[in-house]
């Protein structure tokens, strides 16, 4: 009897799945149906900087699909380089240093989108190979409920305390540009330079005792759920958990100081939909798009587009005075060596 029921159930499941797969419904059609207008953007993570909201809004206003893409900055750059002879992507989004490096490698073609003059000079390439769409600041994103009684850490020194064992995570810096910005900036903060990584790595080695994992995927939801109590990442992701998703989350600017991070874009060499992509870039600097990014608490690069009710939700300016800008050309030059050093010293050494 049991056997009969289980067989019947399995068969029913199989038939239903097969029927769903074969159904010619529009809802199941892939996003890249040929008649649709499309822009392929590498590194388009819906939970990061509200790309989900921004691309949905663009679909609404322009009818153009920009599908989500889970690559981190470094992976996006590697993919562009690998596909150079047979380009798939139209553009990519990166944390500043990686975008700068991609431009240096000749993976971008110049374009100056509408609103170019509104971007501060330090946040764009004079030739239009890359420009900033918004900026973030490295911060602790803390799920206070998941801390299980431990106080909210206020400084990099706090993070080394045994009470945070197994509670800290930062992304693998060979995967994500945000985390690369953190690792590079931390080294400067600890007294290192673009040639000498020892101060930063020695701190990270001590921090390793408290780190639960070095993820290579977005752990936004894990932090929100409390699987990861402390995530060293961009401030905006924490504000979004707190104000948009209503999580028990606090954003902390570490007492010792922190780093700002421009997030940049560029037009890929050989972009298959170049004209469509240029229109998309123009729109991304418009007030509605900039305000949409701001909903995830990344600061718009175009001054005056941050809605007033969002501005009050950031930590006070006194905290943000502790954030310094990093030199993108130094960062780009150090990128490969620092990533290798991190792999050799922190990951891949045991356990």
């Amino acid at each position: 009897m049991l056997r009969f029921v289980s067989r019947a159930l399995l068969r029913a499941c199989f038939i239903i799945i097969l029927a769903v797969l074969l159904a010619p419904s529009a809802a199941f059609a892939p996003p890249a149906a040929s008649e649709d207008k499309i822009v392929i953007q590498y590194d388009c993570i819906p939970n990061y900087a509200n790309w989900g909201g921004v691309t949905a809004l663009y679909k609404q206003v322009a009818g153009v699909t920009v599908p989500p893409d889970p690559k981190g900055s470094s992976v996006a750059m590697a993919a562009l380089e690998k596909e150079k002879d047979n380009p798939v992507a139209d553009c990519a989004y990166y944390s500043g240093a990686i975008g700068y490096q991609a431009a240096q490698k000749g993976l971008h073609q110049p374009y100056k989108p509408k609103g170019w003059e509104k971007i501060p000079d330090s946040l764009k390439d004079p030739n239009g190979l890359w420009w900033t769409v918004h900026t973030g600041t490295i911060a602790f994103v803390v799920n206070t409920k998941a801390l299980a009684g431990a106080p909210v850490p206020q400084s990099f020194a706090d993070l080394l305390k045994p009470v945070y064992k197994g509670k800290v995570a930062y992304d693998d810096p060979t995967w994500g540009g945000t985390s690369f910005t953190f690792v590079y900036g931390l080294n400067e903060l600890m007294g290192g330079t673009e040639k000498d990584f020892r101060p930063g790595l020695s701190y990270l080695k001590k921090l390793d005792a408290n780190v639960s994992s070095y993820p290579r995927e977005s752990i936004y939801n894990s932090v929100l759920r409390g699987e990861v109590p402390i995530w060293i990442n961009a401030d905006g992701n924490g504000y979004k958990m707190k104000y948009v998703d209503g999580g028990p989350v606090e954003v902390v600017i570490p007492a010792e100081g922190t780093f700002t991070m421009p997030l940049v874009m560029g037009l890929a060499v050989g972009a298959p939909h170049a004209d469509e992509t240029k229109r998309y870039f123009d729109w991304l600097l418009s007030a509605p798009a900039q305000a949409e990014f701001a909903k995830s608490f990344f600061r718009p690069v175009v001054a005056g587009t941050l809605p007033a009710e969002l501005a009050t939700k950031f930590l006070p300016d006194a905290d943000y005075k502790k954030a310094r800008a990093l030199d993108l050309s130094n960062m780009a030059a150090a990128a490969d060596a620092l990533k290798k050093a991190w792999l050799d010293e922190i990951r891949g050494t045991g356990r």
């Binding site: 060979t174 995927e217 699987e227 990951r347 891949g348």
Partner: protein, 241 residues
Amino acid sequence: MWPLARLAAGAFSSPDAFLKVLAAGRYRTSLVNSLALSTAAAFVSVALAIVPAWVFARERFPGRDLVRTAVSLPLTFSGVLVGFLVIVMLGRIGAVPKLAGLLTGRELFAGSAFTLAGLFLAYLYFEIPRAVMTLEAAFRHFPLELDAAARSLGAGPIARLLHVTLPYAAPALFSTLAVTFSASMGSFGVALVLARRFTVAPLEIYTELTAFLNDAVAGALCIALAALTFGVDRLFARRSA
């Protein structure tokens, strides 16, 4: 063949790629780790699979198909999915620590998903079903007459196990070892999600390609991994012949 040729070309494009891979350091550690982890996972999963495989092959009982389907289910999961399942069970707020907290007041095993033990469990999770399915097919053809004949000649249960059952089953056991070992060597998704500092070779290949676009070292690592897998498989195969 073409992808293989490209791979080899990449590996040999830089003369010192193989030296780098075999010199002490992250690459060699990853190869040694892969070998140790996969060997251990193969032996443990085969040992644990013997009884269920025997039962599935020889016994008929109500719900057998259902249990068998449930056991083989993990085979259809991708590695990344298995990794996330282990986090759901053994993460910091996983089901096991929560349950232990309810029962004993202490949240045991919290966060063990990211330890070496967690990684090993994840490997067992998808290797045991593979071992059960492979062994079951072999056990189906086990001639029970042999066992009966030995018994009629006066052999006790231990003597029968040592002199009849094991010698007969040995080839199947070794080929099952080879199958599970190879699958573990190539497994990537589980380690991608779970490995914290413990690195395995497929993970290093991924990092070389995505972070550094280093075709030479990635190719050399691929070839070294394939050679290791092939070599150990031959060892097992010789014993199963």
